[in-house]
Each structure stands twice: as C-alpha cells, then as structure tokens.
C-alpha cells in the first residue's frame, strides 16, 4: 500500500477518535512528536524527584516523611511507565537517558527552581502537581494508546499528590507566624514558574495546531493556563494566603480571572539552561547514572554468568 493512502487512513482513524497502537501505521512526524513529548514527560518525572527528594531526610514528622518518600517513589514509577510507553515507538530507554544526560533532551523547566523550605513541598504539590494535572488529564484521551493508558494511572496518583500538597499548606496556614510566612513565601516563589509550565503563549507555540489535529493535545497552552488561574484564585482563599499578582481580578464578562503578564524572558532563560538549578539537576542525574554504572555492569555480567551456568548444566543433563 502506498504511503499516501496509509496516511489518509491514519487521518481518518484520528478523526474517528480511534486509538493508535504501536503496530499500527503512523506518519513519521506523529511518531517523532510523541517520542519528544513522552520522553520529555518521563525525564520531567525523573528530574522532578530531585527538588522534592531534597526534603525527604528533613521532613518534620514521620507521617510527612513517609508521604514524601511515597510521593517521590511514585514519580520514579511514572518515569518508568512513560519510558516504557516511549519504547513502544521504537526507541530504547538507554538512548533516551543519554539524551537527558547530555543535555540534548528537555524536561519541565519548573524543576530548575530550588526547594528552599519545607513549605515548598506544599507549594510544589498544590501548584506544580496542580498544573501537571491540568496538562495531563486531557492526555488520558490522547490518540496514542500506550501514552493515554499510562496517563490514566499517572493522573490518579498526581491528584492524590496535589491534595496532599494543599493539605500540607493548609496545616502551615493554621500554624505559627513563622509557618504562615514560610507558606506565603513558597507560594510567591512557585506561582509564576507554575504558570509557565503550560508552555509559551498560543501564538508562540508552533506545534500546538498539529498536535491538536492529531489529538495528542486537546487544549491550547493558554486555555489550560487560564483554567489553572481560575482554580487557584479560588483555592488560595481557603488557605488565607494570596497569589503574588496584583492584577488578578474576576472578569464578569469573560467569566474568568484576569491575570498579570508572565515574564517570558525568565521562561526562555531557564529553558536555555540558565535557571537557578539547571546545572545542579543535570549534574545530579549524571552523577547517579555514572556512579551506578558498575552496578548495572555487574548485574549484566552476573546474569550472563547465570545463563551460561544454566546452559552448561542443561548440557550435562
């Protein structure tokens, strides 16, 4: 069958809301777009373990310590299923990891910000996981089957993390003056970077239209960002805190909250590698990978020896 016909059939399946599976025909650009998006997502989960992992040994109660450990472990699990989903597109995890370690692959820019106080564990849960959920819930209906199925599981866990983060902030907001100040400071630092997580404005997002046509994406960056503002502007009231944006105001006519201008220079600067923790995050990933090399090599050597021993004993018998 010629490619033009296959592509036509592919487009028809997309239009009919069919799920595309690994063995199905797909245009090369669709495959590449998905590899880029899923691997970036997987990398984000893995790099995202670092800022929160920073507080595991200092969690201020045993209940919080267990919850944070479990949360960071969930992120490792998400990374694992996302790498697996990506491998169905014909690329190895090791190759994807090389791209991350060399700095070639991108991950969510939010993880290049530091976690400075315990309240950051709340703000990251509420705002960063909150933004991630807004982005990811529509992906459960993504046209590519393995990605959509991975996202169903990821979203369930993320929404639990988000509630946990909000509850952590709520506890601080009812605590001592120092705890309240800590919570407000964390919200102030994480708010704008969280809004940047939705990516550039629609007019500066050249791939959006095609991804929406292919039903990889279901909403534009700006639509999702607006939804985030609308939800958080309400939730912050329950915390008795404020968002660090004097321009946030309900707009009756639009039925949405208006909000202030995003500092896109900061966004692009962080993407370029100049954020506060870009270097630390990449160094930490590389260090773990390099220092783990002897362990991976030993495991492979042992497995090979075992296989040889088994073959030998089978021969003898």
């Amino acid at each position: 069958m010629d490619t033009a016909l296959l592509e036509e059939q592919f487009e028809a399946r997309i239009a009919a809301d069919d799920r595309i599976e690994p063995r199905d025909f797909m245009p090369e650009a669709y495959r590449k777009t998905l590899i880029r998006q899923i691997s970036q997502h997987a990398h984000s989960e893995i790099v995202g373990m670092l800022p929160e992992g920073n507080w595991i040994t200092r969690a201020p109660s045993l209940r919080r310590k267990v919850a944070l450990l479990a949360k960071v472990q969930d992120e490792a699990g998400h990374g694992l299923y996302l790498y697996s989903a990506c491998e169905t597109l014909g690329i190895d995890r090791s190759e994807l990891l090389d791209q991350l370690h060399s700095g070639k692959a991108k991950y969510s820019s939010i993880f290049n910000y530091p976690t400075l106080t315990w309240a950051d564990m709340g703000a990251v849960g509420w705002l960063v996981d909150g933004a991630a959920i807004m982005n990811q819930v529509p992906l459960c209906r993504c046209s590519y089957g393995p990605y959509a199925r991975a996202m169903v599981r990821v979203c369930k866990e993320e929404s639990f993390h988000q509630r946990q983060g909000f509850e952590l902030l709520l506890t601080l907001s009812r605590g001592t003056e120092a705890q309240k100040a800590m919570a407000q400071d964390a919200i102030n630092r994480w708010w704008w970077p969280a809004l940047m997580m939705f990516g550039p404005t629609d007019e500066n997002s050249p791939n959006t239209a095609r991804s929406m046509r292919w039903k990889i994406k279901r909403f534009t960056n700006d639509e999702l960002r607006q939804k985030m503002v609308d939800v958080c502007a309400e939730q912050v009231k329950a915390l008795g805190m404020t968002l660090p944006d004097p321009d946030i105001k309900w707009n009756e006519e639009r039925g949405h909250y208006d909000f202030g201008a995003i500092n896109w220079d900061e966004f692009y600067n962080v993407i370029k590698g100049n954020g506060p923790c870009n270097k630390e995050r990449l160094d930490a990933r590389n260090k773990a990978h390099d220092e783990g090399a002897w362990v991976r090599e030993a495991a492979a050597a042992y497995a090979a020896k075992q296989a040889a021993r088994e073959a030998q004993s089978a021969e003898a018998a």
Binding site: P60, L69, T176, V295, A301
Partner: protein
C-alpha cells in the same frame, strides 16, 4: 531479676526497635532519586518506607506504654543522640551502592531471625508488630541477599567493592548478637530473645550468602567488634544524622506539621 519494671523494659525495647528501623530507614531514604537504575531506586525506597512504617508502630506502642502524652514524633525528633538505642550498624554512612547493600543485608538477616522470635513475645502488641513486619522483612532479606550475590559474583570491580564493603562493615555485626541492657531487661520478662540465641541461625544464613557471593568474611579479633549504639554511645556521624532529621522540629518548637 531486672531492677526495672516490665513496662519500663518493654518501653525501652520498643524504642530500641523503633530507633534501629528509623535510623536505617533515614539513611537509605537518602538514595531516593539517586539510585543506579530506576527499578532499584524504587525497590530501595520500598525498603525505606517499610522501615519507617515499622518504626512508627514501635514508637506508637512506646507512647501508649509511657502514657505521658508523648507521640511518635516526640520520640523521633526530640530525643538526643545518647537516648537513641539503635545498633551502630544502622547509622553507618551510605557509601557507594555496594556498601549500602552490604549494610542492608547484614541488618536484614538479623532483623528477620529476630522478628521470627519476637512473634512469641509475651507482649501481644510487640508480637503483632513482629508478625506484620515479618512479611516485609522477608522481602528485604531476599532483595539484599540477591544483590550481595549479584555484585559479589558480578565483575572484578563489583567484587572488589563488595569485599571492601564487607571488610568495612563486618565489625559492626557483633553488636547485633551481643546482649546490651535493653536486651537483657526485655529477655528477663520474656519480651524478646537474647541476641546470642540468634547467632547460629544468623551466621549460618549470612555465611551461606557470602560464600555464594564469593566474598570472604574478614578475620578480626572479637574485641575489634564495635559496640555501644544499643547503650546510647554512637559513632561520630550520628549527631549529623539527627541534626539533619530533627532540624525543623528543633527550630520551631511546638509547631504542628
């Protein structure tokens, strides 16, 4: 007979068990996000979660026994170094993945035989915690044993590292098998076994795994075995561990988290 009451002996023993698990759990939790491969990062974090979870059960029981309104967090966050009763092995630094696995293996092997015996403690609550923990710890021991063998019998480099890990760590195993007052008091009330009674089974298992891993137990004088943690005398690194772990509770006294 011990010159303390049964309740005091039990309380001290629960703190000893809680401390051992918490301190080792604290150590290995530092690997989360930094493991040699994603699957092992997840697996070791599971062990950390189990150990901290078990520590909470022991501390909660201790809090009830004491009856003075202290909570699990008071025991974990507001006691000083010399009040901690974990064996020194648990507080040793992580080192490389091999040293972490070796320390874990030497502890898991002891932990398992101890829990088997604790199931028949005359304190029902302690017996119940042991029964519940046993399933988790069986997995811990299987996991660390497999890795000790895999790394010991892997490449020349991994073998070398594991032998160094064993040489460095072995001198902390004697304390596991030697009665300290906390063990003697618990034994006097039939709350827990004498550690010496577990030695044969412990050493049998450990020697079996190390032989499979082609590792050699270092020959050291019995007096070279390091002791003290179970009496509250720790290594120099313990103060740093607690300073990090207890930091927020100490800086914000009385706050709720």
């Amino acid at each position: 007979m011990a010159d303390i009451t049964r309740n005091e002996a039990l309380l001290q023993y629960c703190l000893h068990r809680g401390d051992s698990n918490l301190i080792l759990g604290q150590r290995i939790s530092a690997w989360c996000g930094h493991g040699p491969v994603l699957e092992q990062d997840i697996a070791l974090t599971n062990v950390a979660l189990d150990l901290v979870g078990q520590a909470r059960s022991y501390y909660q029981h201790a809090a009830e026994l004491e009856g003075k309104g202290r909570t699990e967090d008071d025991f974990a966050y507001l006691r000083n170094e010399n009040e901690y009763l974990n064996p020194l092995l648990c507080e040793l630094e992580n080192g490389d993945w091999g040293k972490t696995i070796m320390r874990q293996f030497l502890y898991d092997a002891y932990h398992l035989v101890l829990l088997q015996s604790l199931r028949s403690s005359t304190d029902e609550h302690l017996a119940a915690i042991a029964t519940k923990s046993l399933k988790e710890v069986s997995y811990h021991r299987r996991y660390s044993s497999e890795w000790v063998i895999r790394l010991g019998d892997g490449t020349p480099e991994s073998h070398r590292r594991m032998q160094v890990a064993l040489d460095d760590t072995w001198r902390y195993t004697g304390e596991l098998l030697t009665s300290a007052p906390v063990d003697e008091n618990a034994f006097a009330f039939q709350l827990a076994p004498k550690p010496e009674s577990l030695a044969k089974e412990y050493l049998g298992f450990v020697e079996g795994v190390l032989a499979k891993a082609q590792l050699t137990i270092p020959e050291i004088a019995p007096t070279a075995m390091q002791q003290g943690g179970k009496k509250g005398t720790h290594t120099e690194r313990m103060g740093y561990l607690l300073a990090e772990m207890q930091h927020l509770q100490r800086v914000h006294p009385g706050a709720t988290w």
